[in-house]
Amino acid sequence: MKFNKALLAAIGLAFSVGAAHAQIKVGVTVSATGPAASLGIPERNTADLMPKEIAGQAIQYIVLDDASDTTSAVKNIRRFVDEDRVDVVLGSTTTPNSLAMIEVAAESRTPMISWAASSRIVEPVDDVRRWVFKTPQNDQHMATAIIEHMTNHGIKTVGFIGFADAYGEGWLEHFRTLAGLRGLDVVSTQQYNRTDTSVTGQVLQLISANPDAILIAGSGTPAALPQRTLVERRYAGKIYQTHGVANNDFLRVCGRDCEGTFLPAGPVLVADQLPDSNPVKASALTYIRAYEAAHGAGSVSTFGAHAWDSGVLLEAAVPEALKVAQPGTAEFRAALRDALENVSEAAGAHGIFNMSPTDHLGLDQRARVMVQIQNGTWKLAD
């Protein structure tokens, strides 16, 4: 009997301690396995490095894997809002997963910060997307950078080869529109699958169209295949890749065949080469140091930096929201949403965020640089 009383007292104490320190709960769903795992793993690692305390409030992260699967992502966010009653949801890694999650976020009136690239996640800001923000640059940002670089280097005709999925299709659409505006001629468009073992047919088509430059719109190491085939078939023009390849595994797989390739990327990729005057340099280096301290030198990737930037946004917004309401309430979530929308000049690893009621991304031209692959490393290009 005595023992039972003591136990009850202990349990009571435990609960009262929990209540006294109201904490902010953050639900994180990330694609740490499945096809998007190479993006999701650095993001999950970054989640461990995000602020543990903001404005005196402890932050609790609940990290779940959605296996790059849309249904699991929705299941995860349902759990976050129904059972865990989180104050904000971060993730997921891929565009399809994020698009599937926004309905739940809006319905439960929980702010959500996506780590996926497509502009459709936050545009247009309607009743549903009021609650949704994202950190990665839009593909349009990157496409304009490529087109600017092409026109500056006298390129008139372009060949395009991209993934036969949302990523490649999205790029083709943006690239075609923007290229048309700048007078570039897209002379051949080809598609291939991430899992293809050969793209000889597509590459022969591209070469027979004889373009000045070829853009490969793929992400991760599968984007190396067309490049290797192009080099093997002695294509002499310039080759461009997208920011989807900006990780070291791509360099390893592509090897010498990728020398001289141009790509747009977030400044975090070449942070140490940026001039000191660049506003992103300091914040990007902060992230790199934090990540490499935990996971070893050279382990950092630009994808993890998108996750980091959501932490930066929270650090800017949470103190404002705390002035209005206590964590764990609907008022706090609404206040946090308002505060996220008013974030200004927050320096993340990928750029400077200036949110507005019509722009839930908030990045500008400072969020991208052109990079060239030289001697197996990334070099800032002019």
Binding site: S38, I41, N193, D196, T197, S198, L204, Q205, P222, V253
Partner: protein, 345 residues
């Protein structure tokens, strides 16, 4: 399209077709002997390629642990049933194959300077690690339910496939690898050039197919497998152990898979989940052969490879659609021409 492009595409198609042919032969063999539709065939391709990639990069190949783990489980399962049957002397043999061998191999791999070994030794090590997983897999996954209907065996295959892909992600990580080619030679033949690796792939496939044919027609084990495929009950009455036949079949299937992986990994980047699609194309070829005819399956594999290559030139967006749609006319044709026999169950 001119002749030069057609030649290049043809060469590309034949190279891929050679790999599909090997896999199709393995699928036909496994189905004929054990009635298993061997979905994880592709995983052996990925395991072979990625184990070689790890050895080449000087990492300790993580598949070694899987071999050891599977060996321990097989030793326990077989050891217990041997002791129960009062044949405790057999335990030594069982442990020798399933436990001592992986341990010796582990010690060997651990002590060798993996990165500096000649490529041939690296390939040999890869095969030594990956191939024994075939018979072990048969013992653990299929042997306990060897008499189950084809559908149950298929479901087990899918389970084994999913498990192997998941383990592959743990072992090799999400990123792909490419190994260095067996030969850097390039031959210019008229308007086209042929790489040494392409010749390696085609020649090894041919050699392997001929070796298989000889194995089935000349050796006692090969004849036993053929007998089991034609009439399992009759073969059993003649003293051919269905268990041995199953293990031998899976050994061959794993060998073909790992070898294919080693052959194509210098040509294309292999990921932990690449195997499935390669295996699936081999499966299309095996279906063309009705899961029973080796020559038709091999010819079907070449057709799949060529079709893939040419459709990637003309209609790259619809390549996979075209390849997999090939199954439909084949099935229609087969169902019209063959007399269907109900499976005895």
């Amino acid at each position: 399209m001119d002749l030069q492009i057609a030649l290049i595409l043809g060469q590309d198609g034949i190279t891929n077709g050679a790999i599909y042919a090997l896999l199709a032969l393995a699928l036909v063999l496994v189905f004929a002997v054990t009635r298993v539709i061997f979905i994880p065939q592709g995983e052996f391709v990925a395991y072979g390629a990625l184990t070689l990639a790890m050895i080449e990069n000087g990492f300790f190949p993580a598949t070694m642990w899987l071999l050891l783990g599977a060996g321990v489980v097989v030793t326990l399962a077989d050891g217990v049933s041997a002791i129960r049957a009062g044949q405790s002397r057999k335990v030594v043999g069982i442990a020798g194959v399933n436990l001592i061998y992986p341990l010796l191999l582990l010690a060997l791999v651990w002590s060798l300077p993996l990165r500096d070994l000649p490529l041939a030794v690296q390939v040999l090590l890869t095969l030594l690690i990956v191939v024994p997983m075939g018979p072990m897999m048969y013992r653990l996954v299929y042997q306990p339910i060897a008499d189950a209907p084809v559908l149950v065996l298929l479901i087990m295959s899918i389970a084994a496939h999913v498990a192997m892909v998941g383990l592959g992600l743990v072992f090799f990580g999400p990123e792909g690898y490419r190994t260095s080619p067996f030969s850097n030679a390039r031959f210019e033949i008229g308007p086209m050039f042929v790489t040494g690796q392409t010749i390696w792939v085609i020649l090894s496939s041919l050699v392997f197919i001929v070796a298989l044919a000889l194995f089935f027609s000349k050796t006692i084990y090969g004849k036993a497998l053929r007998a089991t495929a034609i009439n399992p009950n009759g073969a059993r009455l003649m003293g051919i152990s269905p268990m041995l036949a199953g293990k031998l079949t899976f050994f061959l299937a794993a060998l073909i898979g790992a070898l294919s992986g080693v052959l194509i990994s210098p040509i294309t980047t292999i990921y932990y989940d690449t195997g499935f699609l390669i295996g699936l194309k081999g499966f299309v070829a095996a279906i063309i052969g009705g899961l029973s005819s080796y020559p038709i399956a091999a010819a079907g594999a070449l057709m799949v490879g060529l079709l893939e290559s040419f459709s990637s030139f003309w209609a790259s967006a619809y390549k996979e659609v075209i390849v997999f749609t090939l199954v439909i006319p084949v099935l229609v044709w087969r169902s019209l021409t063959t007399h269907h026999m109900e499976e005895e169950e």
